[in-house]
Symmetry: C2
Subunit: 268 residues, 2 copies
Amino acid sequence: MSSPPITSLQNQRVKDAAKLRERRQRDKQHRILIDGVRELRRAITAGVALREIFVCEPLCRTVEARRLLDSLDSCGAEILPVTPEVFAKLAFGDRAEGVLGVARTPAARLDDLKPPSGALVAVVEGVEKPGNLGAVLRSADAAGVSALIAAGHGVDLFSPNVIRASLGTVFTLPVAAASAEETKRWLAERSFRVFAARVDAERLYTDVSYAGDAAIVLGSEAAGLSDIWSGPDVTPVKLPMCGAADSLNISAAAAVIFYEALRQRQSR
Amino acid sequence: MSSPPITSLQNQRVKDAAKLRERRQRDKQHRILIDGVRELRRAITAGVALREIFVCEPLCRTVEARRLLDSLDSCGAEILPVTPEVFAKLAFGDRAEGVLGVARTPAARLDDLKPPSGALVAVVEGVEKPGNLGAVLRSADAAGVSALIAAGHGVDLFSPNVIRASLGTVFTLPVAAASAEETKRWLAERSFRVFAARVDAERLYTDVSYAGDAAIVLGSEAAGLSDIWSGPDVTPVKLPMCGAADSLNISAAAAVIFYEALRQRQSR
């Protein structure tokens, strides 16, 4: 980092990067923003195509941040030192960890997913709240899910809030965005058994076997699942609801089912 | 609701209620605010001592809201109609469901908890983010947990955000706030077996039995659990972490362990 820091808020590269907070600009530029040390580290590990990394050294206070800085030279991105004032313009809310990456938007194509034999795949349909989508990704990563497919139209899989809520696991976990129809066909072609979480299901989620190639489909709390996830080739399952409320948050429901599948698989 | 609506933003009761968004005022007035139809309905069901309910009829558009309005006369609170302008001053963010209750702060004393024989009790220590605390409450309610104890100093168990994130289950589930020391003594006096979720535990959460009187202790992601939850009378358990991230969100971890306990109990 020998070059002098960018000091001007009017610097074109700073302005272009700051615009990437808006989805329209991300779609137009085919680029995304990656905030935070952990998130950037996971993106680099996953081979995300980083173009540039803004670095504000005075804000890189943690051991992890220093370690990341030491490793940046080999990641292929251009390193752009900036002053704290410039970084404040670029950074997201309270996340002033001193590093911010700009990367090419990962492809996230369904046909690029190559799940192993006996894969557990998560499908989330119509989940638009980035916090929920990120939390499901994080639980899927933890529970050893092989891939996550965001089904529906216009899912913003790499928004800064999804990246943040997922702790960067949106990069390390194989992910795809596709329509519900494409997703269902993809699963059928690969002979996945499909389980759909529904509050009105008759079978408990613990009364089915998730062995072999299995997919767990979850919808948003507000909209539920579309009709495509009904029919003889989909097994509806429910979580017992013992209390006053009639549903769980999607990220809690996802974690419970993913971990039940893991428990069954590990005890076999 | 025959009285004319309050139209003045300077009305003293409106001003007193609006102040209850601040914790200091809640502690001083010994009152809390309850936003939302579902939350208010659950508070009434649970016997929370409601003092007054501000109602803005034009905003009560849903069937649930109309049904709640019809039942308010019998709940003992004074009903105060207000104009949309006044309601906007009182209401929380985007939650304009047309009803807002002011209630006496529930006691939430440890000694008032009377768990049944074979109870599963949840303990959360040092969880300060209201969204997380509310989500854990919601999962505890769903999984049939008998009571939840918020351990630590100064937990704000009935903040508007906890009420909201819990969907009002903070009223229907028996809850208490106490120090960690008091909580541990309370559990020991009742011969609870205590399981503490720790990332460094050796045993998996699925390799223990939650039969009988059992407590599950969870800490915040940032601070973990205090030393009081170590020692021979506490069994540390962990969730398998199969991916890139090294921990789960507390509400996801809580849901997974609560539901594993429920699974074991229901399959016996």
